[in-house]
Structures are given as structure tokens and as C-alpha cells.
Symmetry: C2
Subunit: 425 residues, 2 copies
């Protein structure tokens, strides 16, 4: 390989689907690449709910970034926390005082869950965006059954056996369906003093239907499928309050010790770093070519950006969209390096929407065809196994699922570690 | 099944190899059983070093106790912390104020690592007894490489790439060999600024040879095999001090950012609960029938007990010994229930000693035959897969190992969660 030490330097912040796609699509381009992430692993977020519900192990959906990129000698992987951008001098600022100079910068820093101005709800109603979130939720669910087993007061016991999921999008539906199966099937024989089949799983959605990004008939199907699994669904009910004892919605209160938040997201601080306009969820309103307004050398992709482009609606915050944007940015960088600086607008192509309801059913909307039921579940499973990176993990995940499917046994039921974020230093 | 609500109540504290064996061997006996553990899972400790070195996932060597025992309707599983025994009234005291009355009590509460009176070393030199220990060690090892990659000062970089293991027993040898492979093989291509093949792995042993419980020729073989993997071995060197910057032994100091402790264990507090004599490692000196001195209705097994019985030496603190003791106690309980209260002395039968050196070599001493090299490694692997509970985990562990063996790829390289113990409530 030729010496690239003076080559154009592309710095990518975030090793999610979007960031990694930029790296992959820049293979053999005359650039040096530095990819920065505050975690040492790429996370397959679409399967995170399976870690939260004790179906998969953490290492089955996460892979060390530098190992994924080990063959790409022009790529440097940096485990570091970004705290700002010096766009005048073209530098990324790191928490430890380090700086990384860039020629082109790609911000793919993702999103966290958001509480619509009620950040105090977070400790009572954790969301699901990181591995730590997933093991926190797993621990809370499993501990609640343990505590219920030892609780003699009927009211407190009922609260321990009530699981509330706020938000009826794909994550909320997947969590509700899987927790229902866990309680009503997998844990059935394990306890002596409680009947886990009597656990209540309540899905609360502010809007008029679950899975609002799907067509109405698929929403209706998912509603019925969740009810068959024993999930109670409350539609048109915005949550007014989350506490350590339960939730309030409408004029009602529901006692529950486990509340899970799947209702909203907020983009990372990238908009503040640049001082550019953002929408209500702090997503940067990018130019048609995915660059930040006023910064042609800075691209923003994935959950950090918002752009119209799908039937007049914003591009959805899903993995295929982030990857398409990553590919577009990589192509733009290559074309620019050849001397053509004319802007190339991004065109989103929606390949489909998927959501599972427990381990036997799913809904898929490809646009030209809509599928539901067990066939959709198998398509969903094969699609996810296909996208899981690396042969070994494909086999491991497939083996796990076959086992759960055949035996109803979820083995990753571990209550581990406290609720603390990892320290880098 | 007949009503057992008034049956003899056997309470077992600890769901390790010993405690679970008592439960298994009491199947169909006319007893009620309660098993108490402060974790919700049984841990396959012999493979814990593989979690610490990123080869296996936590859920592959740990199984929820109540799920293991779900078919045994007379068994109650309790997730609780024991704080004492009221032996006058026959009650186990729990941290949350609860009490559990027993007719027969089995204490199988295991051991932690110990620092010979230097508890202040623990934060600098973590030991390996729990899943949290293993993920802590994994995080420290992986973070040290990450920090070395970004360190420009040669001395500090060298300290970050020096891994010290204190203690040359099986755990120390297994850690040293696997870390050497991780550094010198698996991570070789992943970094850009450091050469992980230059990482130093130093095994320090106070005694005159490693693997002192094996014969001298196997010790010599293991020494040579470790050296081939690039491990530096210091024999006859008691460690004088562990700090955040390294270790001191003899008149020397060694700068190292990662120190792992595999040098000593200390039994749980069971001796204090009962106020009975214990040895230097706080192990209760049990009667020949494994009962606690003065308490015929209380048995103590596994790492919590010490008893002579193997070529005049104490029974070793290994899984097969704990299981033999568990079986002996279960049989004694059944015979007593039939009215025969005469003491039955425990006889230990040593089936063999095993230790692996990396992924290609091992030493096995069956007594009548000694095996070493790759054949020993395969016997070790098959034996461990056989003992790993449950078909699913056998397959998953075997798959993982085959993958590591074939590809040199360790996938469980995740830096997760902070250093905190889980809370039960």
C-alpha cells in the first residue's frame, strides 16, 4: 500500500451502522481514516431488546470495532469521548484533552432515549439504547420476580408483577411481547409462591394505535397478536408521571415496580458542538447532501440527522437508513477527492419495516407487499441473522434462537453488575 | 407427590458445586429443601478465567438456580444474603430481616480470594471468583491495551503493556497462558501504534515451582510451555507490595498497570456465624462426617470446610471434592431420616488434577497416569464440556472453543459496566 500519512484525513465519530458503513465504503480510497467511539464495540441495536429479555448474551450482539477493522491498515480506531468540535481549525476535541485534526468529518453519534423534558423519570423508567441499558432492564425484570416470590403483601406483590412499557413503536412492542412470553411461558415452573402467568404486562401508547409507522391493518394485527400473548394495551394515553411506584396516565394510576421507556429519542450533542439548527429531538437539519448547514466538510448521518425524503416524511431512524447515508457520504468524499465538488443530494430508498411480536409472530411492510404471522417471523429472523456481523455470531445467535424456539428456555437470565456507566480511564 | 409441608427441612446456603449436589442427591428423599444464594445463578468457576480473557460470554458459564431446579417442586430457591446463624433456635438469618428455620443445615458458601492481611491490595490486584471479577479483569486488560495505543511516553506505555499475575496455581497459569495468547496472537493486527506482541506477561510465584499440587515433571513441562507462549516466570518471589503502578517482589519493582491476583483464598464467614474453630484461611475444621464441631445437624462442605483425607493432605478446594462432599452429606441425611444416627466418615477419592496452558496444551495428573500437551488439552476440553450443565451451553461453549481454536478470534472482548457489586434490593 502506498504511504497515506499525508493523505486526506476522514474522521468519523460513532461506530454504529452509519459510521461503520462510511469506513467500509471508503475501502481503497486515497484517504486516512480515524473512527472514534466512546465504546470499544459496535452494537447491533435491533437485537438489544433480546439482551434485555434474557434471550441473547451481550457478546452475541456486540463486536470490538478495532477487530472488525483490523485488516484496514489505513484505519485508526480510537476509544475516546468527544466533547466538542473546533470547526474553525478543523479539530475534534476529546474529553482527555486530546485533539484530532480532520479534513472531512462525519458525525454519526446516534441518539439516546428522551423523556420529553422529564429527565427525572429516567431512573424509574430506563430506556434501551446501550448494552448497559439492556443489562439494567434484564436485572430489573428478573429481580422483580425474585422480590415478588418473597413478598407476602398482595398489593405490593401485584405491583412487583406488573410490567409497564411506555411507547408502542417497534421497541415497545418487541419488549412487551417478549416479557409476556418470559412471564407466561419461560418462568412458569420456576417459582413456588407466585404464579408468573398472572404477571401483567401493560403497553401504554399516547397515539391512537401501536406501530404507527406501519399500515393500519398491520397495527391491528399486531394489537391482536399482543393481546393473545396476554399483553394489556392502553391506546391514546399519554403518560403524565413515572415514579418508583408506578405510572400515571389519563386520570388513572397503575402500581408497577418495573417501567420501561420506549417512547422517544433525543439525538446526541452534535448540534450543540456545531451550533447549527436542530429539530425538537436535537437532530441536525442537514442539507440535501447530508452536510451540516454552513459546513460542507462536515457530514451528519443516522439518528443525529433529520432530512425529509420518504413520501414527504423524515427519513426513519433505522439501521438501513443510516447505512444508506453512510454509503452516500463515502461516495461524495471519493467524488470530491477527484475534484468534483458539486453537491449530490441524498435519496432514501425505504426497503421495509419489521417488528416482531414474541417468538412466533411478526409484521413486515415492504411497501409492495405486507406479511404477518409466523412467515414474517421467519423472514425477520433470517434477515437479522444475515445482518449480524461475522459467521461465528450468526451461528451463535441462530443456535440460541433455535434453542429458545424449541425449548422455551432463556439461558441468559443473569442478574449482574450495578447501575453504573463504564469509565474509560 | 405426598404433602411435604411438615417434612424435615434441609436448608442449603450456597448454590455452588457442593450445594447443588446436595439438592440433586436428595431427590425423592422425604424432605423439603430451601437453597439460598446471594446470586441468582450457579457459576461454573473452572471456566471463569475464560470470561476474564474474553473467550466466553458470562451467560455461557452461569445458569439461573431456580431454573435448574424448576422440576423439583419440593425445592424452594431463595435469592438472599445470609448474615448469620441462630444455632440455638435452628434459624438462618437474612440481611433483609427474614429468617429461615432449618432441621438440617448445609453450609456451602465457598471462598473469596485473599491478600494475606493486605486487603488494600484488592483494588490494584483483583482476584477471580465471581462473574463481576471476571468482567472487571476483562475490562482492565482490554482498557490497558487501549490506553497504551494512545500513550506516547515509552515508560508509561511499557507499564500499560505489562500484565502481572500473582500466584502460580492452576488459575494463575491459565490466566497467564491465555493473556499471552490474547496479546501475542489475537490482538496482533488490531492496533496501529503499539505492537501487542511486545506485551510482557509476568507470572510471579512465591514457592519454588508453578502448579505445586502437580508432580514435579508436570510443573517443569508447564513452565516450559508457558515460556514458549512468551510468559516470563519468577519463582521463589513473594510479592511485597501491590500498587496502582506495579508490584514489588524481592528487592525489585516492576511497573505494571494490570495486576491479577491468583495467590490465595479465604473462606466465607461461616466459621464466624457458628463460632467454631477455623484454619488460617477461615475454613471450618469439620468432623470426619463433615458436620461442624458441636453441631451434628450442621454440615459444612466445599471451600468453606477443611478436612484431611488425601494422602494425609487436606482435601483440595476443587469442584469434584465439593461434589463428593455434597453426595456424602445427602446420603447421611437420608440414612439419619431412617433412624440411623451413627456418624459416617467422609472418604475423599481424588480423580485427578487438570490445568491448561493456553489453547494448545494442558497437564493432567490422574495419579495412575500423567498426560501433557495437546492430548491433555483435548481431554481437558471434553471433560469441561461434559461437566458444563445443559445441552445448550455445552453446544455454545464447544462452538466458541472450536471457533477460537480455528480462527484465533475471541469475540467476547467487551468493555462493559463499572466496578460495582450488584444490589439485591
Amino acid at each position: 500500500m502506498s504511504d497515506l500519512s499525508h493523505a486526506h484525513h476522514v474522521v468519523i465519530v460513532g461506530a454504529g451502522f452509519g459510521g461503520l458503513e462510511v469506513v467500509h465504503r471508503l475501502a481503497r480510497a486515497p484517504v486516512r481514516i480515524t473512527i472514534i467511539d466512546q465504546r470499544n464495540y459496535h452494537l447491533f441495536q435491533p437485537l438489544l431488546y433480546q439482551v434485555a429479555t434474557a434471550s441473547l448474551a451481550t457478546s452475541e450482539i456486540a463486536w470490538p470495532v478495532r477487530h472488525l477493522l483490523r485488516k484496514r491498515k489505513e484505519v485508526t480506531t480510537l476509544l475516546a469521548v468527544v466533547t466538542g468540535i473546533d470547526s474553525e481549525d478543523g479539530k475534534v476535541l476529546l474529553e482527555d484533552g486530546g485533539v484530532v485534526a480532520y479534513d472531512t468529518l462525519v458525525l454519526a453519534t446516534g441518539a439516546r432515549h428522551a423523556y420529553f423534558g422529564h429527565d427525572e423519570w429516567e431512573s424509574h423508567a430506563p430506556g434501551l439504547k446501550t448494552l448497559e441499558d439492556a443489562t439494567t432492564i434484564r436485572r430489573r425484570i428478573l429481580l422483580s420476580f425474585e422480590r415478588a416470590e418473597r413478598e407476602t403483601d398482595p398489593e405490593r406483590r401485584a405491583a412487583l408483577l406488573t410490567f409497564v412499557i411506555v411507547g408502542g413503536g417497534p421497541t415497545g412492542v418487541e419488549l412487551a411481547g417478549t416479557i409476556a412470553e418470559l412471564a407466561h411461558e419461560n418462568l412458569r415452573e420456576d417459582f413456588r409462591h407466585i404464579d408468573t402467568r398472572k404477571a401483567r404486562i401493560v403497553l401504554i401508547e399516547a397515539g391512537p394505535r401501536i406501530l404507527p409507522s406501519f399500515t393500519e391493518d398491520l397495527s391491528t394485527y399486531a394489537y391482536a397478536a399482543l393481546e393473545r400473548l396476554g399483553v394489556e394495551i392502553e391506546l391514546g394515553r399519554p403518560v403524565r408521571e413515572c415514579t418508583g411506584n408506578g405510572v400515571a396516565f389519563d386520570d388513572r394510576k397503575l402500581s408497577a415496580k418495573v417501567i420501561l421507556w420506549a417512547a422517544g429519542v433525543r439525538a446526541s450533542s452534535a448540534a450543540d458542538w456545531l451550533g447549527v439548527p436542530a429539530d425538537h429531538a436535537n437532530r441536525i437539519k442537514v442539507e440535501p447532501d447530508l452536510s451540516a448547514p454552513g459546513y460542507p466538510e462536515i457530514f451528519v448521518i443516522g439518528d443525529t440527522a433529520t432530512i425529509d425524503g420518504w413520501q414527504g416524511k423524515p427519513v426513519p431512524g433505522i439501521a438501513p437508513a443510516a447505512k444508506q447515508q453512510g454509503r452516500h457520504v463515502a461516495t461524495t468524499i471519493k467524488i470530491r477527492l477527484r475534484g468534483d465538488a458539486s453537491p449530490r443530494p441524498f435519496r432514501y430508498k425505504h426497503s421495509g419495516s419489521l417488528a416482531t411480536i414474541g417468538k412466533r409472530s411478526a409484521v413486515i411492510d415492504f411497501g409492495w407487499i405486507r406479511i404477518r404471522g409466523w412467515i414474517a417471523w421467519w423472514i425477520w429472523g433470517l434477515a437479522h441473522i444475515y445482518f449480524v456481523i461475522g459467521v461465528r455470531n450468526r451461528l451463535a445467535v441462530a443456535l440460541n434462537w433455535l434453542w429458545i424456539y424449541a425449548s422455551g428456555d432463556r439461558s441468559a437470565r443473569l442478574i449482574t453488575q450495578g447501575e453504573q456507566r463504564p469509565k474509560l480511564r
